[in-house]
């Protein structure tokens, strides 16, 4: 264990018996159901996210299967719509967000020298809400009226036509929202109150910074989503008129409220990935992150701007000209801080000495493919052009580029980066590289043709299409099946690593910087019970 002096300030007291002080609690239930250890809870979150990724992915496979060729072959249109809606809800709320919270749980205390998350019991609470929330949501697949089929955006009046699944989905969203808010509060409080003395804000690793901004976004928008779906609920069951013109409301009002949540939400899905990429690239380029402070400010600007661009999702609803103009310009502006980040990553690689271990491969693919998704995003922001793109596969291509080789590659890169620290074993790097290369190839076969489909006029959310779209859909489906199958390598690789393998060093990666690498591998069950001393912090600091 790295030597660290006792500081007067932060030690830890544990509630339970002292024998368990240096190891997990005895008993499965004690440890995994009632536990409060940030590493255990992080593990739970990550396992949950992985399961949800496979469930959401299976739904995507059903979508791609039906779209494999024109004509309806397998599913009823209503079930297809359910698959589209549930796929998105499961991926966003079940896979990506919990994966981020899981990584935050594991890494933030290690990175800032804290003994645990600030509010450990709430941490457990926020995790355990999720399995119940998804029981409610996925339960809708098994009731006679079928799962929600109005798209993940739940636009009224369509979503109000939903059957018995409607309140189940709404309450599931309430539970997920409560979970996210608690997770976000925990992150903020940990970062603001639990940093080791000497770990100033501007010494924090980028992953902590991006998560801090993400947590602010979460707290500010998840309650708004809760409000929006509550209004849906009362419109459906209690006769309110929020979204009905007859009573003086407006269906478009829902869209405004939803996207006030929805747009910051997409940055919630990507900002932690920015953080992870900012950790990985310096390690494997053997050079400190270029422009650390600028990166912090760019992240904050993205967070701020994300609140004033929401109506770019609604250019076709008939907004006043001034509104369209405003939202077009603010949206375009986001390219600037995002560009700064991309350029800084590039500058970090510049004059570095790079090697290409699996995390680095994912980070590099992220740079290229996320940028492609960003470029199409910029095209979508141009209102007159968006009139042609809106609700087509061009949009589907855009957001999958930012979400799959963006968020998902970010998560996978992060897992491959920190896995040896968690397990104490190095994973099979060859296998991980296979996972990477096949994913990187198939993800493009899967999503690149969707740009063409959208431009050629194929609307999204349709189970069947005109014959001129047959060719690219075929290619996209083949890419989809390939990508899906390859993902099986990911849990395989992790499983092998958990079971054993070459011992990892404490530092794992030759030029890794940061407090987590000052701890032994695997990180002890309780770490930083006494805060790291200033020299340790300085040694860990990468900038």
């Amino acid at each position: 264990m790295a030597e660290h002096a006792h500081t007067a300030h932060a030690g830890v007291t544990h509630g339970a018996d002292h024998d368990a002080h240096h190891g997990p609690a005895h008993g499965f239930i004690q440890r995994w159901v009632m536990g409060t250890n940030h590493k255990d809870i992080g593990t739970l979150y990550l396992i949950f996210a992985c399961v949800m990724f496979f469930i959401g992915g299976t739904m995507a496979m059903i979508i791609r299967l039906e779209l494999f060729k024109p004509g309806l072959q397998f599913v009823d249109p209503m079930f297809f719509n359910s698959m589209t809606s549930m796929h998105a809800l499961v991926m966003i709320f079940g896979a990506v967000m919990p994966a981020w919270v899981g990584l935050a749980n594991w890494m933030i205390p290690l990175q800032v020298g804290a003994p645990d998350m600030a509010l450990p019991r709430m941490n457990n609470f926020s995790f355990w809400l999720l399995p119940f929330a998804f029981t409610l949501l996925l339960g809708t697949l098994f009731i006679p009226s079928g799962a929600p089929a109005g798209g993940w955006t739940l636009y009224p009046p369509l979503s109000l036509q939903g059957g018995d699944s409607f309140p189940m989905a709404i309450f599931a969203i309430h539970l997920m929202g409560a979970s996210s808010i608690m997770g976000a509060i925990n992150v903020i409080v940990t970062l603001m109150n639990m940093r080791a003395p000497g770990m100033t804000l501007l010494r924090m690793p980028m992953f902590c910074w991006t998560w801090l901004i993400t947590a602010y976004l979460l707290i500010l928008v998840m309650p708004v989503l809760a409000g929006a779906v509550t209004m849906l609920l009362t419109d459906h069951f209690f006769g309110t008129s929020f979204f009905s013109a007859a009573g003086g409301g407006d269906p478009v009002m829902y869209q405004h409220i939803f996207w006030f949540f929805g747009h910051p939400e997409v940055y919630i899905l990507i900002l932690p990935a920015f953080g992870i990429v900012s950790e990985i690239i310096p390690t494997f380029a053997r050079k400190p992150l270029f422009g650390y402070e600028t990166m912090v400010y760019a992240t904050a600007s993205i967070g701020f701007l994300s609140f004033i661009v929401w109506a770019h999702h609604m250019f076709t609803v008939g907004m006043p000209l001034a509104g369209q103009m405003f939202f077009m310009l603010t949206t375009m502006l986001i390219a600037v801080p995002t560009g700064v980040k991309v350029f800084n990553w590039t500058a970090t690689m510049w004059k570095g000495s790079m090697t290409f271990e699996p995390p680095m491969l994912f980070a590099i693919a992220f740079l290229f493919l996320f940028s492609i998704g960003g470029f199409s995003g910029l095209m979508l922001a141009i209102v007159p052009a968006d009139f042609q793109y809106q609700d087509t596969y061009f949009v589907v291509a855009h957001f999958h580029y930012v979400l799959v080789p963006g968020s998902i590659f970010g998560i996978m890169g992060g897992v491959y980066y920190w896995l040896p620290k968690w397990t104490g074993n190095m994973y099979n790097q060859a296998l991980a590289k296979w996972h990477f290369w096949l994913s990187a190839i198939f993800v493009n076969v899967l999503f690149f043709p969707q740009h063409f489909l959208g431009l050629a006029g194929m609307p999204r959310r349709i189970p069947d299409y005109a014959t001129q779209f047959a060719d690219w859909n075929l290619v996209s489906s083949i890419g989809g099946f390939g990508f899906g199958l390859v993902q099986l390598l990911f849990p395989l690789c992790i499983w092998q690593c958990v079971r054993g393998g070459e011992r990892a060093t404490d530092k794992v990666w030759e030029s890794a910087h940061g407090l987590e690498w000052e701890l032994p591998s695997p990180a002890p069950y309780h770490s930083w019970e006494t805060a790291p001393s200033m020299p340790v912090i300085a040694h860990g600091a990468s900038h």
């Binding site: 249109p77 009046p157 007859a246 380029a285 076709t316 290409f356 007159p384 063409f452 006029g457 075929l474």
Partner: protein, 286 residues
């Protein structure tokens, strides 16, 4: 619901069959299309131009940025003996440069975009007004001043072929899913105003060749317009572009653009016919 028993075999057959039909793709349909159609209105062509401009800007930026990345990936790898230059951690100068240049590029993009947008929103001086009402899952066209009104739904043959297990090879159906029983007839060379609304849920009326996409929202009326170039009569096809429930994928739009004379004759005949029908109706009722 998914029919579990046969799913796997069906998937395999689809895979093989799909590959076969892709390879033998009939020349009839515009296969492997890559881009947006420039369309048949001055506006649609402007939008196409705008789309291409921003596309090429993005390509240029991508070449520059990806170029630097690829250069670094090749040049600054340890296997070729690169030594890290750890002093290169910050430079206010270059950071200002790469903040300002994107801003300039964005302004260059925003100006034509804003101009086009302003023109698009100008619904004055229209010569023909049609109210379009969307239903789950059909369209209704009301020529307000001519007293002509009718519904337009998915063509019968497409509708039959699209059923689960219809057994029809959809490649044999003409304009599969993009054909209707009664097309929307409009004159070329005329500024047509559309007043869009819906009866049940939100739909969106979209014809790519006209570059018109506007939501049809229950309880509200949205405006849109187009003017098909005088030398471009023809059939232009589109689809509903807002998820509207079960048959969202099956409510296409066909615009039948005719010369002004043909249109005048058509609308006159329609008006007479519909008047006759309605008087006949009132007479038999009375």
């Amino acid at each position: 619901m998914l029919r579990k028993s046969s799913t796997l075999t069906a998937a395999l057959t689809a895979l093989v069959g799909g590959l076969a039909s892709a390879l033998a793709a009939p020349a009839a349909h515009a296969a492997w299309a890559l881009n947006m159609p420039p369309g048949v209105t001055a506006m649609s062509q402007r939008i196409y131009g705008l789309h291409m401009t921003i596309f090429w800007w993005c390509v240029a930026i991508a070449i520059a940025v990806f170029g630097v990345m690829i250069y670094s990936l090749v040049k600054f790898r340890r296997s070729v003996g690169a030594v890290p230059d750890s002093t290169l951690v910050h430079s206010t100068k270059v950071e200002i440069i790469w903040t300002v240049i994107p801003v300039i590029i964005l302004v260059i993009m925003a100006v034509p975009a804003a101009r086009t947008l302003i023109q698009l929103e100008d619904t004055s001086n229209t010569e023909l007004t049609v109210k379009i009402t969307a239903y789950q899952w059909k369209w209704q066209y009301d020529y307000l001043d001519q007293g002509v009104s009718y519904f337009s739904t998915l063509a019968r043959d497409s509708d039959a072929a699209r059923q689960l297990e219809s057994g029809t090879d959809v490649f044999t159906v003409p304009h599969y899913l993009l054909n209707v029983d009664h097309p929307f007839v409009v004159p070329v060379g005329t500024k047509v105003r559309l007043l869009l609304t819906a009866q049940d849920v939100i739909h969106a009326w979209w014809v790519p060749d006209l570059a018109v996409k506007k939501d049809a929202i229950p309880g509200f009326v949205n405006e849109a317009w187009f003017e098909i170039q005088a030398d471009k009569p023809g059939l232009y096809r589109g689809q509903c572009a807002e998820l509207c429930g079960r048959d969202h994928g099956f409510m296409p739009i066909v615009v039948d653009a005719r010369s002004k004379e043909d249109f005048a004759a058509w609308i006159k005949a329609q008006a007479a016919e519909q008047k006759q029908a309605s008087t006949a109706l009132t007479r038999s009722a009375g």
